[in-house]
Each structure stands twice: as structure tokens, then as C-alpha cells.
Amino acid sequence: MAAKSNSALVVTLPSDLEIVMTREFDAPRHLVFEALTKPEHVSRWWGCRSSTLSVCEIDFRVGGSWRYVMRMADGGEFAFSGVFHEIAVPERMVCTERYEEPKFGNPEWVTTLTLEDLGGRTRMISRVLHKSVEARNGHLQSGMEKGAGETFDRLAELLASLAQAAV
């Protein structure tokens, strides 16, 4: 179906400090908002392959904090936490996000989540804003160590996504 083709996740780099993810979901906006902000739901889907959320705490109010701990199959853990700055149910949420890793200086960024009502479907736009280009690049690189070489085909996709971001 045509609707299905729109659900691909698009990642763009509109500036030196940002990473923007756009994706559509085949569900009404209030459900998507709940799934993204309530711990009983987040713990069901969030995280990389073969990981589980061993901690998922969300105090969903302005000034409230959240913390996730992702446990990998090999027992390794990665912790993320932050504070909510803006909440407008069911369309917008702004929070800080910190990767708790002293080795990398506990990098912190601001995430702005926007949900657009497409009538039964929902478009999610997640904008990550870093303080420096080095921090942004580090974020983008995280988890890349396992990846293999990429094909040249990706180049065209990258240029297309960069060009799209520039419009």
C-alpha cells in the first residue's frame, strides 16, 4: 500500500549541530504520543537489537526527569537520562537527554519531539540539537563499531537526504 512506503525512517543533518529523524506511524496521534512517553509502553519497543530496558522511569511533567538503562545481550549497559522542559499533549515534547558515560564526558543534547496528526496516521519528527559539531558527530557514530563497509549506493541516498534537509 502507498501508506506503507511513507513509513521509512528518514535521517537528515540539517545543520552542523542537528540530527533529525522523520517517520510515520499507522496509528492515531494520541496513541503514538502515549507509546513514546509512558514507561509501560516505552519499555516494550525502545532500544537496539537484542537489548532490553532494565530501567525505564518517566516522571512526565515539566521539570520531571526520566532515565532509561539499555541492557545488551552481553550484559553491557548504557544509561540515558534527562529532564522534561516542555510538554503539550499529544503534539510536542522537549527534553534534555544525557548519555551517562564519563569516558565521553556525559554528552547532553536537547530533543524536540513533534507529532503531526495525519488523520488516523501520525508523522513523528524528532530533532536532536547538540552543543558542538564534535558531540553531534559522536552521537551519530555511536553504535557504529559493529557495522560493515557500506556500498556506494548509499552516497546517492545521503546526498538526497542532505539536499532535502536544505529545502
Binding site: 537496539c48 564534535e134 553504535g143 542532505l162
Partner: protein, 116 residues
């Protein structure tokens, strides 16, 4: 690639004109005059962009011909494309799980609604 080199790649890519130049070069080499054509820019302005791209290792300029053709250098771009793709695929795993979970939520809401 060293962090500095990667930063140079990213800042070279941050400009829409330079991305358009790269997109043009992805389909084959071109002269400065040919590149200037679609942008309504002076040759010195285009040359300036080309210098930034060249410094970032994103393009190379031929010495063999008088018109010094520009061509794309795949290395740094492949690296950046690789990062973006790996980042994307990691999140896509999460979001496809979320797709399934949303189906469950929709079904529960419908069932709950009927009971009322």
C-alpha cells in the same frame, strides 16, 4: 578518518550549494564553468566552494587537462553515509517494534471502547 577530517567533511556538506555541486558531480566529472551554470554564480564564487570541497577531500581536480575537471572522491562521503545509515538502521529496529506495539494498542483501545 581523524576527527578533524570528519569535521571538515561535515562542515563542507553543511552548505546547500556545495551539496548541489556534489550531487552534480555524482553523475560525472565537470569543469568549473559547467558547475557554475545552474547556480547563477560567478566563477570565483564557485571556485571558492570547490576549494572547500577539495580541502575536505570530497572532490579532486584533474591536472591532465587545461579545464581541470572536478570529480567526486567517494571515501569521506562513504564514511559519513555509513554513519547515517547505521544510526538510521538502529532506530528503525526500534520503530518497527513500535509499529507492532501500536497495532496492539489500537486493538486494546477498540476493545475497551466497545465495552463502554
Amino acid at each position: 578518518m581523524a576527527t578533524d577530517a570528519l569535521s571538515a567533511t561535515f562542515s563542507a556538506l553543511a552548505d546547500p550549494t556545495r551539496r548541489a555541486i556534489l550531487a552534480r558531480l555524482a553523475s560525472g566529472q565537470a569543469s568549473v564553468t559547467e558547475l557554475a551554470g545552474p547556480f547563477d554564480m560567478s566563477l570565483p564564487a564557485v571556485s571558492k566552494h570547490l576549494k572547500v570541497l577539495q580541502k575536505a577531500g570530497l572532490i579532486a581536480r584533474g591536472r591532465e587537462a587545461q579545464w581541470r575537471p572536478c570529480r567526486i572522491e567517494a571515501g569521506p562521503l562513504k564514511e559519513v553515509a555509513g554513519w547515517v545509515e547505521r544510526y538510521r538502521s538502529c532506530w528503525e529496529e526500534s520503530f518497527s517494534r513500535l509499529d507492532d506495539y501500536l497495532e496492539e494498542m489500537k486493538w486494546k483501545e477498540k476493545k475497551h471502547g466497545r465495552k463502554k
